[in-house]
């Protein structure tokens, strides 16, 4: 499904700020896998997502998605196949457009530029139905500008936008980190049900190690631009929090001492 081979990216090469953000990283995902990604700040997790989405073109290595080589495909074309939710609720939606306009825009990714009405009647009721299934009452506010919604509500809209045309790959970048605990839990619930309903191949970055082990089917840990730990199946089932931290410390030769890492929830 997703095949990343020897991916490297150096920012600001040849300057004092030179920084190797991805270091010969290889990773393979099977269809339907749900991988959680952990790692300290600056490990290169978001950079990996940026590389997959085509925000920049990698210095070396290749990315194959759904048996197509997308290494040098421009970002907007890749997004036909990839859905992405960011930590910042402002990023995924257009504030001055209404909820239904935002969703219509995402829904239109199945067709190219067209001169027919942006939102058709049948589509409107389809959007309504989808929103209603999230149980947040957004279906009654379809004509509300998204800028007026709360962060959690915006993330729900983004979530729907990313999945309304089933993506080949769903990327979640700490998408509940900016929300309060209750909302965050609700969004995770919606996330899980959307993923299992559509059997989506998913990568989720989280700073909550506990939920990283409990959610999904596989967990990888990143450090200094590479994958340093990759567990699934029984090994993952039996892994305790302290095992995982010890493993991190021995593999990376440093302490997992990040303020933002939540050990429990």
């Amino acid at each position: 499904m997703l095949d990343i081979k020897n991916l490297s990216k150096t920012f600001a090469p040849g300057t004092p700020n030179e920084h190797k953000a991805l270091d010969n990283l290889s990773l393979h995902l099977d269809k339907g896998e749900f991988v959680t990604i952990i790692g300290s700040n600056g490990a290169g997790k978001s950079t990996l997502f940026n590389a997959i989405c085509g925000t920049f073109i990698a210095d070396a290595g290749s990315i194959t998605l759904n048996s197509t080589d997308i290494t040098s495909v421009p970002d907007y074309k890749r997004s036909k196949l990839i859905g992405r939710v960011f930590q910042d609720p402002m990023k995924g939606t257009a504030p001055n457009l209404t909820i239904e306009e935002n969703i219509a825009l995402a829904y239109s990714r199945r067709k190219s530029f067209n001169l027919s009405a942006a939102i058709k009647k049948s589509e409107r009721s389809f959007f309504r139905e989808k929103l209603a299934s999230f149980g947040m009452g957004l279906e009654d506010r379809m004509k509300t500008k998204v800028g007026l919604l709360s962060g959690g509500q915006r993330q729900v809209v983004t979530m729907l936008m990313c999945t309304i045309v089933t993506p080949k790959l769903l990327l979640l970048d700490e998408h509940t980190a900016a929300l309060d605990p209750a909302t965050s839990e609700k969004i995770m619930e919606i996330t899980n049900s959307v993923i299992s309903e559509n059997n989506l191949t998913t990568m989720m970055i989280t700073h909550n190690i506990n939920s990283a082990l409990k959610t999904g089917t596989r967990t990888i840990m990143m450090d200094s631009g590479d994958v340093i730990l990759d567990i699934k199946g029984d090994e993952r089932e039996n892994m305790s929090l302290s095992d995982l931290l010890n493993m991190y410390n021995s593999k990376s030769n440093k302490q997992f001492d990040n303020d933002r890492i939540l050990l429990s929830h």
Binding site: C53, D75, Y76, K77, R78, S79, K80, G83, R84, M90, K91, G92, T93, A94, P95, N96, L97, E101, N102, A104, L105, A106, S108, R109, K111, F113, N114, L115, S116, A117, A118, M161, C162
Partner: protein, 299 residues
């Protein structure tokens, strides 16, 4: 009475300019300075074609030329990564030369004795006075443009352009070619502005290569006045308010210069003051609220 009719005539015609400015400044969120060049481009293209006996084709050509100018600015800013303000300035300055070329090196040509869309309308509506017919022609153009623009921005492609001005990252993530959408938006804005120049040339009876200077501030003043009058922020009302703003702006100018409060050449100063005042409102409001808070503390 003639002052009122005059204000309505120019208000409607320059309403098309206001819609164009509204599209680039408000919908696309791009401070596009191409406007002054594309206004003059439309003006001279229409004038030259009118002299050649093709007033209608002249308006079509003006619109297409303006769209091409918008595409150039769009290309400079999206593909060559030149800052939008600079991209607009580059196109605007090169248009000055191009406009002179179109006029065969003459800085000014007259279309006074030629057949124009206005003359055609006089024949079509003999029961009305000429001054009234001019208002009708201006209104037809402005309302037609409003209709087309509103229809367009409600289509799928129009929605993409609106979204680009609102959150470009999100548009890229929705597999829409943001560069193309932005360029298309600029093309439409400048096409309208050039059409406006084209109609104005036939209305006023001549074309001057420097006629574009200061048009941007006039369009901006119209948009801002429209926003003050109509508080509702939606696509439809935004575009209608741009045209209304243009008419009211022209009313203000007529009062200020028509009754000789200020000389007739002071229109640009008046527009600049209107724009500066309107843009200063948020800062002034903040200042006042800070002063109020400070006052409460001291009390």
């Amino acid at each position: 009475m003639s002052l009122v009719l005059g204000a309505l005539q120019i208000g409607f015609i320059l309403g098309m300019l206001a819609i164009g400015i509204y599209i680039s400044f408000r919908i696309l969120n791009v401070p596009d300075l191409t406007a002054e060049g594309s206004y003059a481009l439309g003006l001279v293209t229409s004038a030259v074609m009118t002299v050649a006996g093709h007033p209608y084709l002249g308006l079509v050509a003006a619109t297409l030329a303006g769209m091409a100018a918008g595409c150039v600015t769009g290309f400079l800013s999206t593909k060559l990564k030149i800052a939008p303000i600079l991209a607009g300035i580059i196109t605007m300055s090169s248009l000055y030369t191009i406009n002179l070329m179109i006029m065969g090196g003459n800085p000014n040509i007259s279309v006074f004795d030629c057949d124009t869309v206005f003359r055609a309308a006089y024949k079509l509506l003999p029961m009305f006075k000429k001054e009234v017919v001019k208002v009708i022609v201006g209104a037809v153009f402005a309302i037609f443009c409003c209709g087309v623009v509103i229809w367009f921005f409600r289509t799928g492609i129009g929605l993409s352009i609106r979204a680009v001005g609102d959150n470009e990252d999100m548009v890229r993530a929705s597999s829409i070619n943001a560069d193309f959408a932005k360029t298309l938006g600029l093309a439409i804005a400048n096409g309208l502005i050039a059409l406006c120049g084209g109609v104005y040339a036939q209305y006023i009876g001549n074309a001057d290569v420097s006629a574009g200077a200061g048009m941007l501030i006039i369009g901006l003043a119209s948009v801002i006045i429209g926003e003050v009058i109509i508080v509702k922020r939606s696509l439809v009302w935004g575009i209608i308010s741009a045209v209304l703003g243009s008419i009211i702006y022209r009313g203000i100018i007529t009062v200020v210069t028509g009754f000789h409060f200020l000389p007739s050449y002071s229109t640009k100063l008046v527009s600049a003051i209107i724009v500066a005042l309107a843009l200063a409102v948020p800062a002034v409001k903040e200042r006042i609220s800070i002063m109020k808070k400070g006052g409460a503390k001291n009390a």
